[in-house]
């Protein structure tokens, strides 16, 4: 109902649209939606939704007041202008992206919630803005973002650069925080869907049914807001809102055991129309491995080639704005049928993992292992670690070893923690030798918390957020210098610059660390017992030990005392 009224509203007000077009020729709000489906070698399937809303306004300019919203969600627009946000990235992820089985994701995210924001450089009280912003976002997304405070916020100096317009480099205006424990569920999905112009009523968003999305191996939803250029000359700015949702469906838990996927099996829906407000609405299916690995039906003549994450991929394109896509049944249900076993996947060039070594509740060691699987190229990576204060890092024990040799980082930014105020931040630029495993270790001591600082389930352990590895990875396309099949010779000698490397961010798994925990099950007994023991035992022993004893004369019996009284009067020697 809301949608039809919205459409009705727009269609009955052509003058409004006309006006806006007159003011900014060639620039209106725009909405695009797309879904990429990539069959994975493991038999699983990866579906990635992207919804892009372009907002043609620049409220950061002086005196610009924005009160009219068309496609862009008003709740977010108000937040942006109120807190002078330059860029905002927020992701909610349930699960861990398995790089070694699934390759690189289109948009990486760590387990739990991640939020990073660049504020405009006119903001004077960044921390205050940040605090309010997290509370507001917490309300918008129905998430526990209000648990973000100074003890888990850091200001990375190099790892998180703005992705949009402008080259702000002063990291005083950047705030980064993760909540590794955040659990993502339908309550976070609903507000996220409400930000879409068509809601979940039409277009690709009809596929977003929570009972299927959360019956998967991996679920991640994100919102990215950044300023972009309106046109090629970049004369005017626009705001881009990108809502992404990535999900990986598991072959085994989907039942049946047949290696066969369809839109209906994945989402329990088929596609029947595009979102009427969308200028483009497309479904891409990665068919690079077709037909050795699987076959796709219905086949489409539309193909598109692109270099994605350093690899040349071919996609079948289904344009939902064209009626013939839906065929006679007036519904699109893509079907992928595997043929035999999937071949070996190309190993991802960059991979990282992390674990806690040692045993006992006093000390431990964090190991971060970064793999460079490139056969002959070395490349640098930026490693960022944010460790809560209750793990007291011994930074002098920091070692970086590659191929059992010391590997000195060329850049180290370390900000020690302050108890109960801020976490450790460690950023390092490390050169990874080709085909190597680099191990970063640092020892820590587990702090004993005050008894009110423990969580309600202290024996579960405490989380340490993922460390972030950012790198420019040499691409596969450039790797293959012998690749001349469908390229003219003159173009293939020197690798094309933009294809020679690509930016990747890899998140490691979060850590669950047990801290020394008192027995909370009977604090009352314990307190009573210890107090009694201390008071009675210690008090009286102390008394015994410090007192000097003197043997006093035993007092005489009454009869003797009377006798003595008489003797004293008589002047005779006294009895003893």
């Amino acid at each position: 109902f809301r949608l039809s009224s919205l459409i009705g509203h727009i269609s009955t007000c052509p003058s409004l649209i006309g006006q806006c077009c007159q003011r900014h020729p060639g620039s209106v709000d725009e909405f695009q939606e797309e879904l990429v489906i990539r069959p994975l070698h493991s038999g699983d399937i990866y579906a990635s939704f992207q919804f892009r809303t372009l907002w043609d306004t620049d409220f950061l300019q002086e005196g610009q007041k924005v009160s009219h919203y068309r496609l862009f969600p008003k709740s977010l627009g108000q937040v942006l202008s109120k807190f002078s946000v330059r860029e905002l990235h927020i992701s909610f992820t349930q699960g861990f992206w398995r790089t070694m089985q699934w390759g690189q994701p289109f948009i990486p995210s760590p387990p739990g919630a991640e939020l990073w924001v660049w504020f405009h450089d006119t903001v004077s009280d960044v921390d205050g803005n940040w605090k309010e912003l997290t509370n507001v976002l917490s309300g918008i997304f129905c998430a526990s973002l209000n648990f973000i405070d100074l003890t888990n916020t850091v200001q990375p100096s190099a790892s998180f650069k703005p992705l949009g317009l402008g080259n702000a480099t002063d990291h005083r205006f950047l705030r980064y925080a993760t909540l590794p424990r955040e659990i993502v569920c339908t309550e976070n999905l609903t507000p996220w869907k409400k930000l879409l112009p068509c809601g979940s009523k039409a277009g690709l968003a009809v596929l977003l049914k929570s009972e299927k999305l959360f019956h998967s191996s991996f679920h991640s939803q994100a919102v990215h807001i950044r300023p972009v250029c309106q046109d090629e000359q970049c004369t005017s700015k626009a705001w881009e809102l990108r809502q992404t949702l990535n999900v990986v469906f598991d072959l085994y838990t989907a039942g049946q055991g047949k290696k066969e996927w369809s839109l209906f099996k994945m989402f329990s829906r088929t596609l029947t129309e595009a979102c009427p407000l969308a200028t483009s609405s497309k479904v891409y299916v990665d068919i690079t491995d077709n037909p050795e690995l699987f076959e796709l039906s219905p086949a489409t003549p539309l193909l598109s080639q692109a270099v994605v994450l350093g690899d040349r991929r071919t996609y079948s394109v289904f344009d939902l704005t064209r009626a013939e896509t839906f065929g006679q049944l007036r519904s699109l249900n893509l079907l992928l049928r595997w043929k035999g076993d999937g071949g070996e996947m190309l190993r991802p060039l960059l991979h990282a993992e992390r674990y806690v070594a040692g045993f006992g509740l006093q000390t431990g060691e964090i190991h971060t292992v970064i793999y460079n699987n490139h056969p002959y190229r070395a490349f640098p990576v930026l490693l960022m670690d944010s460790v809560p204060w209750y793990l007291q890092l011994y930074i002098h024990t920091l070692t970086v070893t590659s191929k059992s040799r010391d590997n000195k980082p060329s850049y180290i930014h370390y900000q020690p923690a302050k108890d109960r105020h801020r976490p450790h931040l460690l950023e390092m630029l490390i050169q990874l030798p080709p085909h190597s495993m680099t191990e970063v270790t640092v020892q820590f001591e587990r702090a004993l918390l005050k008894w009110t600082e423990y969580t309600p389930d202290p024996n579960h352990g405490f989380y340490v957020g993922s460390s972030v590895v950012s790198a420019l990875v040499p691409s596969m396309v450039a790797m293959n210098t012998n690749f001349t099949q469908d390229q003219p010779l003159f173009s293939s000698f020197v690798p094309v610059k933009e294809e020679s490397s690509y930016f990747v961010r890899v998140y490691t798994e979060p850590l669950l660390v047990n801290l020394p925990t008192p027995d909370f099950s009977m604090p009352y007994n314990v307190i009573c017992l210890t107090c009694t023991v201390v008071a009675v035992g210690y008090g009286s022993f102390y008394n015994l030990l410090t007192r000097t004893f003197q043997v006093d004369e035993p007092s005489l019996p009454l009869a003797k005392r009377l006798a003595n009284l008489i003797r004293r009067i008589r002047g005779v020697p006294l009895l003893t």
Binding site: Y252, Y355, G358, N514, S540, N543
Partner: protein
């Protein structure tokens, strides 16, 4: 405390304690023993109950049904094991991969300090294969482990097969919140130790092992499965781990609850529970079960693969299938369901198992004795040492007190110098160090000079040093101060008594059983020692003989009594196993006995030859 600060009353109290010292000590000793034996009496014990909320109220449904498939898999595994002449690594990797697990291998090697004659191994080289079931939408922070050893011969084929069948079934379920690691380890405990050290990147026992590639966060609990027949009559739960550590009692409760639910006969220490506690047989049965647990715990070794997990704060237990001649049989599907139920409940855990007891004794699976109940038994024994020490202290101090009074008496014999006490202490401890170090280090020399194998060499060297310790010139004080004075040995005895009390107290806190057994044998002899005592009595109650008695009692309790010569052979193997356990897994019983208990006992031995 007012009692003590009043000098006259203090005098009365000390007078009472010194006058009645011997009767009080005897009463304490007897009371300690009786208390301990009373622990097995059912009305004195508590019924076990599930403390953990997450495992209690949430019922799970068991649906595992591929027991038959597991058995055919066991045959296949057996064939491949024979063909490979050991662990069929490739087959296992393929089997796990085809079930949708992430599979990794770890190779390890370890040269034992001397050949292990029980298991016939010296240079150990092996591979662990493990597959990780990644829980959907979980961030790899928590894991559970199910392990089955790949044993030589015909044993444990069904365990590995059931593990694979469970993996296949578990992989298709959506409800997992923790990753599940399926581990098939080679060379039983050595493989487990190598894997655990690899997983936690520690190196405490000098293993040479390959690094692990796949991890799944912090391990919350582990189950070890041993199964060698297609059908079983009962399942035995093994809890005793390294250094006498026990898993949380809730793990035992969980096992018991599922055995009840599925109607599986369950035993502990191989003994079925009896219902007739009020008869003599019923009581004896419970006492035997508890004594077995005490003996097993005291020896400080890991009685199954689970025992090594406990060091890493991972609650673990072994489940062992037993096939005897009863005709009530349980099939593989039911065992699979039992494990499924247990793993699902462990999967539901929000926190590590911590609600229930970590220190307990089990007279049966449904009854337990907590630390609060068994500690008084030890306390009654330990207090004897303190009473004797107090007695000695009063006797030693009495003449000095008299001197303070100003009464001019004959000059008291001057109190013995520090050297007279220190020398025997140092000599005893040096003997202890020799007992700890030499057996392993001198084995080559011993093998060269005597016609014995390495293992025998080590054990016989240990016994030789132990005996040589008795023959050392202990009466050094004669060289220092001429004749041994009465005061001299009393001071030495006082020191030794307090030392022993501290030693036993600390041991009992960590491993009650070991502390209690040592106290039972050491306390009477050390409390009553004077230079006039017979040396033979002293030797018969020495630590080595304690071990020998324990061997015989243990054999008696497991209903496999042995002759004296067999018992002696067992005693020798127990010593070699003790030394091996220390070298391979870091068990602390051997160093404790060699470096502390034996020297302490030698100090008392010293008193015997004072004059």
């Amino acid at each position: 405390m007012g009692l003590l600060s009043d000098p006259s009353r203090r005098k009365v109290l000390t007078g009472l304690l010194t006058r009645l010292n011997t009767p009080i000590c005897i009463v304490c000793y007897l009371a300690g023993i009786v208390w301990f034996m009373g622990l097995a009496f059912e009305p004195f014990t508590l019924r076990t109950y599930m403390s953990e909320n997450a495992m209690g109220s949430t019922m799970v449904e068991e649906r595992f049904s591929s027991g038959e498939r597991a058995l055919s898999l066991a045959k296949e595994f057996d064939a491949h094991k024979r063909k490979a002449g050991g662990m069929p690594v490739e087959w296992l990797v393929k089997a796990m991969q085809s079930r949708g697990l992430e599979v990794f291998t770890q190779s390890f090697s370890r040269k034992l300090p001397f050949p292990d004659e029980n298991k016939e191994r010296y240079m150990v080289r092996g591979t662990n294969v493990y597959g990780i079931l990644r829980a959907p939408r979980a961030p790899r922070t928590e894991a559970l482990v199910i392990t089955a050893p790949c044993s030589p011969g015909n044993t444990n084929n069904q365990a590995v097969a059931l593990l694979l069948a469970l993996a296949q079934y578990f992989r298709n379920q959506i409800y997992w919140a923790k990753d599940i690691i399926f581990l098939v380890n080679e060379h039983d405990l050595i493989g487990t130790q190598a894997w655990l050290e690899g997983y936690h990147h520690t190196n405490i026992t000098e293993y040479i092992s390959g690094s692990l590639r796949g991890r799944a966060g912090s391990i919350q609990a582990a189950l070890s499965l041993e199964l060698s027949s297609d059908v079983i009559t009962s399942l035995d739960l093994v809890l005793e781990g390294l250094n006498g550590q026990l898993p949380n009692l809730d793990l035992a409760n969980l096992f018991y609850a599922f055995c009840q639910k599925l109607g599986v006969l369950c035993t502990i220490q191989g003994k079925l529970q009896r219902n007739d506690w009020d008869t003599a047989e019923g009581y004896t049965h419970a006492a035997q079960t508890m004594m077995l647990m005490v003996l097993k715990q005291a020896c400080g070794r890991s009685w199954g693969d689970h025992g090594l997990f406990l060091r890493y704060h991972i609650e673990a237990a072994s489940v062992r299938g037993i096939n005897s001649f009863r005709h009530y049989k349980t099939d593989a599907t039911t065992i699979g369901r039992l494990l499924e139920g247990m793993v699902r409940k462990l999967n539901n855990l929000l926190e590590r198992l911590h609600q229930s007891y970590f220190f307990y004794l089990l007279p049966s699976l449904s009854r337990f004795v907590s630390i609060g109940y068994y500690m008084p038994a030890f306390g009654l024994l330990a207090v004897i040492l303190l009473l004797r020490a107090l007695d000695l202290w009063v006797h030693l101090g009495a003449p000095a007190l008299a001197a303070v009074d100003g009464v001019t008496e004959a000059e008291q014999p001057s109190s013995p110098g520090v050297l007279t006490v220190l020398t025997p202490v140092v000599i005893s401890h040096l003997t202890g160090v020799a007992l700890y170090l030499l057996p392993v280090h001198l084995q080559e020399m011993a093998v060269e000079h005597f016609p014995v194998s390495e293992t025998e060499a080590v054990v016989l060297t240990a016994i030789a040093i132990y005996t040589a310790g008795l023959a050392l010139p202990h009466n050094t004080q004669r060289l220092l101060s001429g004749e041994g004075t009465e005061q001299g040995w009393k001071v030495l005895k006082l020191t030794a008594l307090l030392y022993l009390a501290v030693l036993l107290g600390c041991t009992a806190l960590i491993n009650f059983s070991l502390g209690f057994i040592l106290a039972v044998t050491l306390v009477p002899i050390t409390a009553s020692i004077t230079p006039a005592l017979y040396a033979l009595v002293m030797v018969l109650l020495s630590p080595a003989f304690t071990i020998l008695y324990c061997v015989f009692i243990y054999q008696e309790l497991i209903e496999a009594p042995v002759s004296v010569s067999e018992g002696w052979m067992l005693f020798l193997s127990v010593i070699s196993q003790g030394i091996l356990d220390h070298a391979l897994y870091g068990s602390l019983v051997y160093p404790l006995l060699a470096l502390f208990i034996y020297p302490c006992w030698l100090m008392f031995w010293n008193i015997l030859f004072w004059n």
